[in-house]
Amino acid sequence: MSEKTKKTVLIIDDEPDVRVYLQAALEDGGYSVLAAGSARQGLAMAEADRPDVICLDIVMPGQTGISLYQTLRLHRSLRSVPIIIISGMSAAQEESSFDLLKLKVNGTPDLPGPDAFIEKPINLQTFLQTVQRLSRC
C-alpha cells in the first residue's frame, strides 16, 4: 500500500506506552499513524491532517478527553471523522463523571455518541477490525 492510499489514524492518549503500542500495531497493520499526548496537540494534528479515524482516550488529566470529544463532534470539518473511544474507565471511578461520560458516549440529540467504545486493555484483533471497519467509510 502506497503512502497516499494509506488510511491515517490519529491516536490521542496521555500514556506514552499506549501510544507506542497502538502506533506500532496500526503501522504494522498498514496504517499511517499520528500520535498526540494531549488533547490540545491532538486537535491541532486533526485539524492539520484530517485523519480517517481518531482513537481518543477519554480519561486524560483535567477532563480534557471529554471536552475534546465534544469539540471534535461539533467541529465543522472534523465532525464526520469516526471516533473510537478508548477508556480504562471502570465502575469504581467517580460516579458523576462516569454518568457524564455515558451520556456523551450514548449521545444526545446535540451530541452523537462515539462510533466505537473499546475498554482497556484492548483486544488487539478487535481493535484493528474496528479501525478497519471505520476507516472504510
Partner: protein, 603 residues
C-alpha cells in the same frame, strides 16, 4: 447670843452656800418677780433679777397655765416638778424644780425659793438610748417574770406585730405555750446571760431564724424582775448557708459522678481529692492515697513536669500506667487552684481515651478494610492500564523479535520495565495503606525533613519549568515524627503540587514548601500555582482510588498522607481555587505528637 463677828461669819457662809450650791436658785415674790438668783442660775438662764419668772424660765409673756409656784403661795406646800424651759442661749432646758415657801414672822409667804437641777444632758442621753433601742437592727423585747412583753422595739414590732402585753411565745412563735428550752426563763432563774438559736414566725407568716441573747435588765438584781432579749435575724445567713451547702452538694455530685478522673493536690503535692472515676482509672483506692504524695508510678515524671506550669492551664495527651500495670492513653487537663489569688494547689482532669482511641482505630481499620475491599474492583482500573502497557511492550518485543527489528526489542523491553515498575509501585502503595505499620517516632527538626524532600524534587521540577521554593525557618525545635512516614506525606504533597502545575495552562508555576512552628504547633505547607481543584474534585480528594491524573495516579497518595497525619495526632487542611492553585497544610500540635520511642539526637 451671837456676836457681831459671828453674825458676819454666818452671813458670809450663807452667801457662799447660796452662790456655790450645785443647783440654780432663785427667789420670787408673790408677783412672780425674781428678787434674787445665784451664779448657777445666772449661768443657765441669765440674770433674772427684777424680771418675771415665766419670762426667764420659759420666755413667756404671761404666767404658765399650771403654775406650781402659785399653788405653793396658796397652800404653803413644797413641790417638786419636772419642767421644760429655755436657757439663756435659747436652747431647750430640762430641769427638775423644787419649790419651797419662805415664811415671814406673820406666817405669810412673801417669797418662794425655787431650786432647779439641770437634767438636759440626762434627757439627751435618754433620747439617744431610746432611738438606739427603737432603731437598732435587732429585735429587742423586755419581758416580765411571766414572760409577758413589756417593751419591744420598732424592728421587733414591724416583724412580729403588736407585742406589748402578750406572751413572748405567742408573738415570736405564734403558739399557745412556752417553749421547751427558753433562754429567758434561764436568765430569770440564774441572772446570767443565755444564748439560743430560735426559729420564729413573722406577723405575715414567714419563717424567720434568729440568735437570741437574754440578760437581766437591771444588774445585780435578785430575783430578776425583767429580762431583755436581743435577737439577731440570721434568716438570710441561713438561706445563704443552705444555698452554699446545696451548691457544695451539687459540685460534690458532679465530682463523684464525673466520667473524668479528678485528682487534686495541695502545694506540697499531697492528694486531697480523688474521685471514683480516677479510682477506677488508676485502679487505686482514695483512702490509701489521700494525704499522700502522688505515686510517681502513676504519672510519668516527664509528663508530670509538663503538667505543672507555673501558671494557667495545660492539656496534654499521653499514657498513664495503672496500679496493675495497664497502659492507658489519656488526655489530662491540669489547672492551678487558687483561693483569693493565693495558689493552693493543682487539679488534674483525666479523660480516659481508650474508647476514643479504639473508635479511631476502628475507623482507620474500617477505612482500610473498605479500601482493601474496593481494591478488588478498583485495582482493575490501575492494573488495566499497566496491563495494556505490558501487552504493548510484549507486542513491540514480539514483533521486533519476529521481524528482526532490534530497536523494537529495546523499545519493548523499556516499556515492560516501566510497567513492571508501575505495578510494583502500586503494590507498595496498597500495602502501605492497608497493612498499617506501627508509627516509629524519633526526634527530628521539621525543616530538615522538608529540605530533604525539596532536594529530591528540585531537579525534576526544573526540567518541567516549575520553580520549587523552600521557605522555612532555619532552626525549628526537634519534634517526634516517624521520619519515613512523614517523608512519604511530603513527597506525596510535593509530587501532587508538581503534577497540578503540569496540568495547568500557565507556563511558569511556582511550588512553595514551607514549615514553621507557631503556638507549639508544627505546620507544613505545600502551595502550588497549578490547575487547582473544582468543587467535585475537592469533595473526592481523600477518597481512595480517586485520581485526576489518568493512568499516572494510583488514587492512594492523599489517603495515605491523611492516614499518616492522623497517626501523628495531626490534621490536614487544604484550600484550592480552580485555575489558581492549591495549598495543602499539615498541622501537628506538639502535645498530640507521639512520644519518641528512643531519644535520638535530632538529625
Amino acid at each position: 447670843m451671837l456676836t457681831k463677828a459671828d453674825k458676819n461669819w454666818q452671813q458670809w457662809l450663807y452667801t457662799r452656800l447660796f452662790e456655790n450650791v450645785p443647783c440654780n436658785i432663785s427667789i420670787i415674790d408673790r408677783d412672780f418677780i425674781i428678787v434674787e438668783n445665784n451664779r448657777n442660775f445666772l449661768d443657765l438662764f441669765g440674770d433674772g433679777r427684777g424680771k418675771k419668772c415665766y419670762q426667764i424660765y420659759k420666755r413667756r409673756s404671761s404666767p404658765c397655765p399650771e403654775c406650781a409656784a402659785m399653788k405653793t403661795f396658796q397652800d404653803g406646800k413644797t413641790r417638786v416638778n419636772e419642767e421644760v424651759g429655755v436657757d439663756r442661749m435659747g436652747r431647750t432646758a430640762y430641769y427638775i424644780v423644787h419649790l419651797s415657801p419662805i415664811y415671814d414672822e406673820n406666817g405669810d409667804i412673801p417669797y418662794i425659793v425655787e431650786m432647779s437641777t439641770d437634767i438636759s444632758e440626762t434627757k439627751r442621753l435618754q433620747r439617744e438610748y431610746q432611738v438606739l433601742f427603737e432603731r437598732v437592727p435587732c429585735y429587742i423585747a423586755v419581758l416580765n417574770r411571766k414572760l409577758g412583753i413589756v417593751r419591744a422595739n420598732e424592728h421587733f414590732r414591724k416583724t412580729f406585730g403588736d407585742a406589748i402585753g402578750k406572751q413572748c411565745y405567742e408573738v415570736y412563735k405564734k403558739k399557745g405555750e412556752k417553749c421547751v428550752s427558753c433562754p429567758a426563763e434561764l436568765t430569770f432563774r440564774d441572772g446570767k446571760v443565755h444564748t439560743a438559736y430560735q426559729e420564729g414566725t413573722t406577723a405575715d407568716g414567714q419563717k424567720t431564724y434568729y440568735m437570741v441573747t437574754t440578760s437581766p435588765l437591771t444588774r445585780d438584781e435578785d430575783p430578776v424582775t425583767n429580762v431583755i432579749e436581743i435577737s439577731l435575724d440570721v434568716t438570710e445567713l441561713r438561706q445563704l448557708e443552705a444555698e452554699l451547702q446545696q451548691s457544695h452538694l451539687f459540685r460534690q455530685k458532679i465530682i463523684e459522678h464525673s466520667a473524668y478522673g479528678l485528682l487534686a493536690f495541695d502545694t506540697r503535692g499531697a492528694l486531697f481529692l480523688i474521685n471514683p472515676a480516677a479510682e477506677d482509672l488508676f485502679k487505686i483506692k482514695a483512702e490509701d492515697l489521700i494525704g499522700q504524695l502522688l505515686p510517681a508510678s502513676l504519672i510519668p515524671e516527664k509528663f508530670l513536669t509538663a503538667l505543672m506550669p507555673e501558671h494557667g492551664t495545660v492539656t496534654l495527651e499521653g499514657e498513664l500506667t495503672t496500679q496493675d500495670g495497664e497502659v492507658v492513653p489519656v488526655s489530662i487537663a491540669s489547672f492551678g487552684l487558687e483561693s483569693e489569688h493565693i495558689h493552693i494547689g493543682r487539679a488534674f482532669f483525666i479523660h480516659d481515651l481508650r474508647a476514643r482511641k479504639k473508635l479511631e482505630k476502628d475507623k482507620i481499620d474500617a477505612e482500610r478494610l473498605a479500601a482493601v475491599g474496593q481494591t478488588v474492583a478498583s485495582l482493575a482500573h490501575g492494573i488495566k492500564n499497566i496491563l495494556m502497557g505490558l501487552e504493548g511492550g510484549m507486542y513491540i518485543m514480539s514483533t521486533g523479535l519476529h521481524g528482526g527489528k532490534t530497536e523494537r526489542l529495546h523499545q519493548g523491553w523499556e516499556i515492560l520495565e516501566r510497567n513492571i515498575g508501575k505495578i510494583s509501585n502500586l503494590a507498595k502503595n496498597l500495602l502501605n495503606f492497608s497493612k498499617g505499620r506501627k508509627v516509629n517516632p524519633t526526634l527530628i527538626k521539621p525543616h530538615i525533613l522538608l529540605r530533604d524532600v525539596f532536594d529530591l524534587f528540585q531537579q525534576a521540577a526544573e526540567q518541567e519549568n516549575i520553580i520549587l521554593s523552600l521557605e522555612s525557618a532555619e532552626d525549628l525545635p526537634a519534634v517526634a515524627f516517624d521520619q519515613e512516614e512523614l517523608h512519604t506525606c511530603l513527597v506525596n504533597l510535593v509530587s501532587n503540587a508538581i503534577d497540578a502545575c503540569k496540568m495547568s495552562v500557565k507556563t511558569d508555576c511556582t511550588v512553595v514548601l514551607k514549615c514553621y512552628n507557631k503556638d507549639r504547633t508544627v505546620y507544613f505547607e505545600i502551595c502550588d500555582q497549578g490547575c487547582g481543584m473544582d468543587y467535585e474534585v475537592k469533595q473526592k480528594v481523600f477518597t481512595n482510588f480517586f485520581t485526576t491524573k489518568g493512568t499516572e495516579g494510583t488514587g492512594l497518595g492523599l489517603l495515605t498522607t491523611r492516614k499518616i497525619v492522623q497517626e501523628h495526632g495531626g490534621t490536614i487542611e487544604f484550600e484550592s481555587i480552580p485555575g489558581q492553585g492549591s495549598c495543602f497544610r499539615l498541622v501537628f500540635p506538639e502535645d498530640n505528637l507521639p512520644v519518641p520511642t528512643h531519644d535520638n539526637e535530632p538529625a
